[in-house]
C-alpha cells in the first residue's frame, strides 16, 4: 500500500523534474533553432545561457524584482548574441570560432563579474526567486497535479514559446524569410529582402531565448549564480536541437527526453533499491550524446538547413 503511494508520488515528481530540467534545454534549443534556421551556426548557446543566468541574478540582486532579472537576462543574452551576429554576419567571420570565443568570453566575464559584484569566487548571494505559479484546478489531480500544478512561470512560458516558435517559423512571412535565409539566401536576396538583417535578427533572438534559459536556471530553479553553473547544458541544448531535427516540437521532445534522463539520476540516488546504479550515473549522463551520434550516423536522417555555416556574400551585380 505504502509502496504504491510512494510510486505515485515518485512518478509525479519524476514528471515534474523532467519539466524542470528540460526547460532551460528547450529554451536554449529554441534559441539555437532561430539562429540555425537563418543559417548561422551558434555553438555559443552555453555562453549566452551563462551570461543570461548572471544578469538575471545581478539585476534581481539590485532591483529585488525577479521579473526585471528575467528581462535583464533576455537583453544580456541578446547583446552577447549580437556580438556573434556582428562577427558572423557583418564581418563574415568563422561562425564556429566565434561561437567558441563567445563561450570562453562568457565564462571568464561572468566569473570575473561575480567577484566584482559580490566579492566571491564561486557563488553569488541568494536573491529573490520567481514565485511559483499554482494552478488550482489541476493541482489536486494525483500525478499531473504534482507535475504541472505548481511550477515556475518560465516552465509555462517555455511551453507557450514552443508553440509560438512553431507558428512564427512556419506560418508567418517573417518565418518564411528565416527559412529562406537558411535554405537559399540568394533567392531571398533576389526577392529584395536583406539576408544580413534576417540573420542578425535570428541570431539575436537565439541569444534572447538562451538568456531566458539561463535566467530560469539562475532565479527560478536555483536562486543564485554559481561559477559555470550551466555545466554543459548549452551543448545538450544543441544536441536536443539536432536530435529534434531542427523543429520546435522536436526540440521540445528531445529536450524533455534529456531532462528526464537528468531527473532519473536523482531518482536513482534516493531509491535504495536502485542505489547499486549510483556507480553508473556517468553512463546515464552519456545517453543524450550517444543518441545524437547514433541519430546522425543514420538511424534517422536529420536535415540541417542547407546554407548553414556559410556566410552569405552578396553577388556583385553588373
Amino acid at each position: 500500500m505504502q509502496d504504491i503511494q510512494t510510486l505515485v508520488a515518485l512518478t509525479g515528481w519524476l514528471l515534474k523534474a523532467t519539466l524542470m530540467m528540460s526547460t532551460p534545454l528547450v529554451l536554449a534549443a529554441l534559441g539555437g533553432l532561430f539562429s540555425e534556421k537563418t543559417g548561422i551556426v551558434n555553438i555559443g548557446l552555453e555562453g549566452m545561457m551563462l551570461i543570461g543566468a548572471f544578469s538575471a541574478v545581478a539585476a534581481t540582486y539590485f532591483t529585488d524584482n525577479p521579473w526585471l532579472g528575467v528581462l535583464a537576462a533576455v537583453i544580456a543574452g541578446g547583446m552577447l548574441a549580437s556580438i556573434h551576429a556582428i562577427v558572423c554576419v557583418k564581418y563574415k567571420g568563422n561562425q564556429i570560432v566565434s561561437g567558441a570565443g563567445i563561450i570562453l568570453f562568457a565564462g571568464g566575464f561572468t566569473t570575473l563579474m561575480l567577484e566584482v559584484v559580490w566579492g566571491v569566487k564561486g557563488v553569488s548571494d541568494s536573491v529573490t526567486r520567481l514565485p511559483n505559479v499554482v494552478i488550482e484546478p489541476i493541482s489536486d489531480i494525483p500525478i499531473l497535479g504534482v507535475a504541472l500544478g505548481a511550477q515556475s512561470p518560465l516552465v509555462y512560458i517555455m511551453l507557450i514559446l514552443v508553440v509560438v516558435s512553431w507558428f512564427v517559423i512556419y506560418k508567418t512571412p517573417f518565418g518564411l524569410r528565416i527559412q529562406a535565409a537558411g535554405e537559399d539566401p540568394s533567392a531571398l536576396d533576389a526577392a529584395g529582402v536583406s539576408v544580413s538583417s534576417v540573420r542578425m535578427i535570428g541570431v539575436v533572438l537565439s541569444g534572447c531565448l538562451s538568456g531566458l534559459g539561463g535566467a530560469y536556471l539562475a532565479i527560478s530553479y536555483a536562486s543564485e549564480f554559481g561559477k559555470m553553473m550551466t555545466v554543459g547544458r548549452g551543448f545538450i541544448a544543441l544536441a536536443a536541437l539536432i536530435f529534434g531535427n531542427w523543429t520546435p516540437f522536436g526540440c521540445l521532445i528531445a529536450g524533455a527526453l534529456f531532462g528526464f534522463l537528468d531527473g532519473l539520476q536523482f531518482a536513482i540516488s534516493i531509491l535504495p533499491e536502485f542505489s547499486f546504479m549510483l556507480e553508473y550515473v556517468n553512463f546515464i549522463k552519456m545517453i543524450p550524446y550517444v543518441l545524437v551520434i547514433v541519430a546522425l550516423a543514420g538511424i534517422r536522417k536529420s536535415v540541417p538547413p542547407k546554407a548553414i555555416g556559410t556566410p552569405y556574400e552578396k553577388e556583385a551585380r553588373g
Partner: protein, 505 residues
C-alpha cells in the same frame, strides 16, 4: 639561390655610402637579404591579424579590468614579469596546447572542424595512465609505449567522427563535440569507479600513480618535461606531412575544395577520416604527455579545458604548425603570468579566460582587424595629406580615447561610494568617446568641438574637489591642463589658417 641579388645590393650600398662604417653596411646587406627572402605581403596577413587580435583583446580586457576596479597596469606588470621569470612553466603550459592546437589545425587544413580535442585528450591520457601502472617496461621504452597507445586511443576517438563524416555525412562539429562529452563521462566513470586508487586516498577520484619507469623526466626546472620535445617533434612532423607528403597534399586539396579534389582522383573520404584520426592522435599524445610528465596519474578534472584552448590556439596560429607553436607559447605565457598575477596582485585568474575569448572572437573576424588597420593607414595618410589638421586631430583623438578610458574607469570605481561623482565622470568619458568617434569619422566640426571635453574635465575636477575630497586630483589636473592646451593650440591654428584664405568660413 638569391646570391646574385645579394651581390648586387652589396655593391650598391658600398658605392653610395662609402663613408659609413663597414659594420653598418653589413647590417644593411643582411637586412636586404632577409627582406628579399621574406614572402609576399599576403603571407604576413594572418600574422598581422593574429597580432592585431592579441593587441585588441589586451586593450579591451585592460579597459574591462579598469571598469571592474582592478589596477590593470599592475596586473599586466605581474603578468609580463611572471611570464618572463619562469620560462619552464610557460613551456610546460604550452606543451599540451601545442598538441591540441595542432590537432585542431590539421583537421582544419582538411576542411574539418574538430572541436572535440578535449575528449580525445582525455581518452589518450586515460590510456597512458592505465598503461603507466599496469605494464612493467624498461626506461625510455615505457613512456614511448604509453604515448603510442595514447595516440592510438585518441586517434580512435577522432577516427570515428571522421568515418561518420566521410561515409554518413554526419557533421563533425556535432559528433566530435558529443563524443567529447562521452569521453569526459567515461573517464570520470573509470577514475571514480573500477580504476579508482584504493587505500588511504580513496576519496579522490584518481587512478593509481604510474610507475617511475614511465615518467617523463624534467628537462630543466620543476615543470618542463620531455613531453615538450615530443610536441616539437609533432610540430615538425605535421609541417612535413602537410608540405612534403602526398597524404598532406591530398588533405589540403580536400580542404580547399572537396569536389574538385574528388574530381582530380583524390579519395576525399579516406583523407577526411585519416585527417580526423591523426588529429585525434595528436590530442591523445598531448594528454599522455601531461599525465606522464606532470600529473603522474589520471586525476578527475585534470584537463581543465585544454582541448577547448586547443581551438583557440589553432585559430590564433592560423592553422599552420609553426603558428600553432607560437600561439601555444603565447597562451602558456598568459597562463603562467596569470598565475603570478593572481598570486601577487590578487586579480582573478579568469582574466586570462576573458583575454582568450576576446582573442578568438577577434580572430574569427579578420575584417575587424583589417578595418582598424585601414583606419590607422587612413589616419597616417590624413597626417601626410593635411598635416595642419591631421596632427592635432590625432593628438585630440589620443587625448579623448584616453579620456574615455579614464572617465569610465574612474566612474566605475566611484559608483559605490559617490554616485553623483560617478555619473559626472562617466559623462566625461561619454563626451570624450563621442568626440573621438567624430574625429574617427572625419567630421569637420570635430576639431572645434575639442574644447568640450576639456570643459567637462574642468567641471568634473571642480565637483571632485568640492564633494569628492579631490581623490583624483593629479590625474584629473593633467587631463584638464592637456585638454585646455590642446584646444587653445587648435583654436590658434584654425585662426591662423582661416585668415589668409579670406573669410571663407
Amino acid at each position: 639561390m638569391s646570391g646574385e641579388y645579394i651581390e648586387d645590393s652589396a655593391v650598391d650600398v658600398s658605392h653610395t655610402h662609402e663613408e659609413k662604417s663597414s659594420a653598418f653596411q653589413k647590417l644593411v646587406i643582411v637586412f636586404n637579404k632577409v627582406k628579399h627572402r621574406l614572402p609576399s605581403r599576403d603571407y604576413w596577413k594572418p600574422l598581422f591579424w593574429s597580432l592585431g587580435s592579441i593587441i585588441l583583446a589586451l586593450l579591451v580586457s585592460a579597459i574591462m579590468m579598469t571598469v571592474m576596479g582592478y589596477d590593470a597596469i599592475m596586473a599586466f606588470d605581474y603578468l609580463i614579469r611572471g611570464a618572463l621569470d619562469q620560462p619552464d612553466r610557460v613551456l610546460q603550459y604550452a606543451t599540451p596546447l601545442i598538441l591540441t592546437g595542432l590537432s585542431v589545425a590539421l583537421a582544419f587544413r582538411c576542411g574539418l572542424f574538430n572541436i572535440g580535442p578535449e575528449g580525445q585528450l582525455l581518452i589518450g591520457s586515460m590510456a597512458a595512465a592505465i598503461l603507466g601502472y599496469v605494464v612493467a617496461l624498461p626506461f625510455l621504452v615505457h613512456p614511448l609505449v604509453c604515448i603510442g597507445v595514447a595516440a592510438l586511443a585518441g586517434g580512435l576517438w577522432g577516427f570515428l567522427p571522421g568515418l561518420l563524416r566521410a561515409y554518413r555525412g554526419a557533421h563533425e562539429v556535432v559528433t566530435t563535440m558529443m563524443l567529447s562529452y562521452v569521453a569526459i563521462n567515461f573517464t570520470q566513470y573509470l577514475a571514480g569507479g573500477p580504476l579508482k586508487e584504493q587505500g588511504e586516498y580513496a576519496w579522490i577520484s584518481q587512478t593509481t600513480r604510474i610507475l617511475d619507469t614511465s615518467e617523463l623526466a624534467k628537462i630543466f626546472g620543476p615543470y618542463l618535461h620531455w613531453g615538450f620535445a615530443v610536441a616539437i617533434v609533432c610540430v615538425i612532423g605535421i609541417d612535413f606531412l602537410l608540405k612534403r607528403t602526398v597524404l598532406g597534399y591530398e588533405m589540403k586539396a580536400v580542404g580547399l575544395n572537396e569536389e574538385a579534389a574528388e574530381y582530380a582522383g583524390i579519395n576525399s573520404k579516406r583523407s577526411m577520416a585519416l585527417a580526423l584520426g591523426i588529429s585525434g592522435a595528436l590530442a591523445g599524445i598531448g594528454g599522455a604527455g601531461e599525465i606522464l610528465g606532470t600529473h603522474h596519474r589520471f586525476l578527475d578534472g585534470w584537463s581543465g579545458g585544454l582541448g577547448w584552448d586547443g581551438i583557440t590556439v589553432a585559430v590564433l596560429g592560423n592553422n599552420s604548425p609553426w603558428g600553432v607553436l607560437g600561439a601555444a607559447i603565447f597562451f602558456g605565457a598568459l597562463r603562467a603570468g596569470g598565475n603570478r598575477m593572481h598570486q601577487f596582485a590578487h586579480v582573478p585568474i579568469e582574466i586570462v579566460g576573458l583575454i582568450q575569448g576576446l582573442v578568438v572572437i577577434f580572430v574569427a573576424a579578420p575584417r575587424i582587424i583589417d578595418w582598424l588597420g585601414r583606419q590607422t593607414i587612413d589616419s597616417a595618410s590624413w597626417i601626410k595629406r593635411e598635416p595642419r589638421e591631421g596632427l592635432p586631430g590625432i593628438a585630440v583623438l589620443v587625448f579623448n580615447l584616453f579620456g574615455l578610458f579614464l572617465g569610465i574607469g574612474i566612474s566605475a570605481s566611484l559608483f559605490a561610494t559617490n554616485p553623483i561623482l560617478g555619473v559626472m565622470f562617466s559623462m566625461v568619458g561619454i563626451v570624450s568617446g563621442l568626440v573621438s568617434y567624430r574625429i574617427l569619422s572625419r567630421q569637420e566640426t570635430a576639431l572645434s568641438l575639442s574644447i568640450i571635453p576639456a570643459i567637462a574635465w574642468v567641471d568634473a575636477m571642480v565637483l571632485d574637489i568640492l564633494i569628492g575630497e579631490a581623490m583624483f586630483f593629479n590625474m584629473g589636473m593633467v587631463m584638464v591642463i592637456v585638454g585646455l592646451i590642446l584646444s587653445v593650440v587648435l583654436w590658434m591654428m584654425q585662426a591662423l589658417t582661416v585668415q589668409p584664405d579670406g573669410g571663407e568660413v
